[in-house]
């Protein structure tokens, strides 16, 4: 990847009670999730990228466009930056109809093909029937979809989404998540996406940036960041890895599908998947047990051979978290200290991981 294609964000912002110091190189495609507790600086960072905040010493470059460079004294005001921004609470213009809301940016960006982009977004988000309505008659989920279409209508070079689902109840959230997945897969707009929901991270992220107290704690491809065993990003019961694979074969008799990923394959429930389809698999650490030998005659359908790479103490003294490398993929497993001792396992040992549950996400 050419470095000039990516996204460069260097920001230093000092406030009396908070300091944000970040230096990031991000890929130019897919969804980059900014993840972290509230107060970690996610929104402030995004506002800096948009030019809504002005850090004292900043460098913001999107592709070949410099939006801010204090060395060269460049600061492009927000309205001249080629971006789309979806705020946490869908901030529709209450005095305009839905139609006029989505057309607001379209009229002003005057880009070629923008009308087509808007029609596409309206269809993709399923909001065509809402056009004549006023914003105050829409549900929260509808408002958020309209806000996304409005942002997409300018055909932005970068789409910024600040917890677009946070203001919604779980039902609405599940209504919008598939639309976001569609956007990610159908449009080639790179997105920065803020969330503090682990569920949204595993479903949407291609790249993951973890923020803590205003600085970057981890950054990388989502499957790599989630596979870290030291100071895990998602801890507790939800700790686990994300595997990205393709549908290799389908078993019609048992309604199962085989998913190949670098370093192995697993059988999962077949949710009418297509051969060759890209899927994300979530394997939780608590759903894996390990043994020194391959288990025969087992009702556990998925068993992978790998190397024990690391062992660290878990939250509870009875437990340990282990990292197993199988080919290019990594699994995390939570096992008891007693079984580790009984199996006489140490790092470097060859082990078999039995996976009880693999959930297919999207």
């Amino acid at each position: 990847m050419n470095l000039m294609d990516g996204l460069r964000i260097r920001v230093h912002l000092a406030r009396p009670d908070f300091e944000l110091q970040v230096d990031l190189e991000l890929p130019a495609r897919g969804i980059t999730v900014l993840y972290g507790a509230s107060g970690s600086g996610k929104t402030t960072l995004m506002r800096c990228v948009a030019g809504l905040e002005r850090p004292a010493n900043g460098l913001i470059r999107v592709g070949q466009h410099l939006w801010q460079d204090d060395v060269q004294r460049i600061f492009v005001p927000t309205w001249q930056r080629d971006l789309g921004y979806v705020f946490q609470e869908a901030s529709l213009f209450e005095h305009l109809s839905v139609q006029k809301n989505v057309a607001y940016g379209l009229k002003r960006s005057q880009k070629q093909g923008a009308t087509e982009a808007l029609s596409e977004a309206i269809e993709l988000l399923g909001i065509g029937h809402l056009m004549p309505r006023q914003p105050d008659s829409l549900s929260g989920g509808e408002r958020q979809r309209v806000a996304m279409a409005r942002a997409l209508a300018t055909r932005p070079q970068l789409l910024l989404l600040d917890e677009p689902l946070a203001a919604l109840d779980p039902a609405r959230r599940h209504e919008i998540l598939p639309w976001l997945e569609k956007l990610r897969d159908a449009l080639r707009v790179p997105m920065l996406y803020i969330t503090h929901s682990a569920d949204e991270v595993v479903r949407l992220a291609d790249h993951l940036v973890v923020l803590e107290n205003g600085s970057v704690k981890a950054c990388g491809a989502v499957q790599d960041v989630l596979a870290r065993i030291e100071s895990p990003v998602i801890a507790g019961e939800d700790a686990g890895v994300l595997l990205r694979g393709t549908v290799a074969q389908r078993d019609a008799q048992w309604h199962l599908a085989q998913i190949d990923f670098p370093g192995g394959c697993v059988w999962v429930r077949d949710n009418r998947m297509a051969l060759g389809q890209q899927v994300r698999l979530r394997v939780l650490a608590r759903d894996i047990s390990i043994s020194a030998e391959e288990l025969q005659d087992t009702h556990i359908p998925n068993q992978l051979k790998g190397t024990l790479e690391a062992i660290v103490a878990d939250d509870h003294p009875s437990q340990a978290m282990v990292r197993i490398r199988s080919g290019e993929s990594i699994l995390l497993a939570r096992v008891t200290q007693r079984s580790l001792s009984a199996l006489n396992l140490a790092t470097g040992a060859t082990v078999w991981a039995q996976i009880k549950t693999v959930s297919v996400i999207a």
Binding site: L52, P77, T78, S91, F93, L96, D136, A151, T154
Partner: protein, 229 residues
């Protein structure tokens, strides 16, 4: 019984409405940018300017009228300026009355508009800027329409407040029939001349007018409130 309103009274009513309409128009044009500035700025001048714009609200009209009279007079700074520009002296003219009315009613125009801008928060303007709207474009396409209830309130208050002013008019207008005599000074004249029947008709008319304005204002607020939460 005589016809209750004579020609003088109708002249006064016509002049009052003309004065109020002109003052309202000028006030909206002046107060809107001032209110916007007050609602957005972090300048150290904000507090003094805001106090100055509110001053007519608490100042006795006779005090304001007195200073205006002095300033507009042939030797006052304003008088010198208007004379140099070839406009003559403004005191005891309609223009002078208009200037006094605009200054006197300024807080009634600025404050509702400023409240309108402040209550919409910064978010709509930020959203507009992320949708390629320049600050000026966003002001006209987003801020003004969203502050519409405040603008309506400002217009109605400015108009009715100008209709009801007395002290400033008396000080700088001189109560000249057909030229600077408005309804409120006309009533005063009737009472001085012990023409209570005439005074009743005009005073009653003002009472009804004021009531209708306030009623219209509150109904408008309800209606606009539904359209613009």
């Amino acid at each position: 019984m005589n016809f209750p309103l004579n020609k003088d009274a109708w002249d006064a009513i016509g002049l009052t409405l003309e004065l109020a309409a002109c003052a309202t128009l000028i006030l909206l044009i002046l107060a809107t940018p001032l209110a916007w500035w007050l609602s957005q700025t972090r300048s150290k001048w904000r507090a003094p300017i805001a106090a100055l714009a509110t001053l007519p609200l608490v100042l006795p009209p006779s005090v304001l009228g007195f200073y205006l009279l002095v300033a507009m007079g042939p030797h006052g700074p304003l008088g010198q300026l208007t004379q140099a520009l070839g406009w003559g002296v403004l005191s005891f003219t309609f223009s002078g009355l208009l200037l006094g009315s605009v200054i006197f009613s300024l807080p009634f125009a600025v404050q509702p508009i400023q409240n309108g801008f402040e209550s919409m928060g910064v978010r709509p303007m930020e959203v507009a800027s992320t949708l390629r709207a320049s600050p000026l474009d966003a002001f006209f396409s987003v801020a003004l329409p969203l502050a519409r209830p405040g603008l309506l309130t400002a217009a109605i208050l400015s108009f009715s407040h100008t209709v009801g002013e007395f002290g400033v008019v008396l000080m700088i207008g001189g109560n000249i029939p057909g030229k600077t005599r408005v309804v409120s000074t006309q009533i005063y004249g009737h009472v001085e001349a012990l023409e209570y029947a005439q005074a009743h008709w005009l005073a009653g008319g003002m009472l009804v007018f004021s009531f209708v304005v306030l009623l219209a204002l509150s109904m408008l607020r309800q209606r606009v409130g539904r359209v613009l939460p």
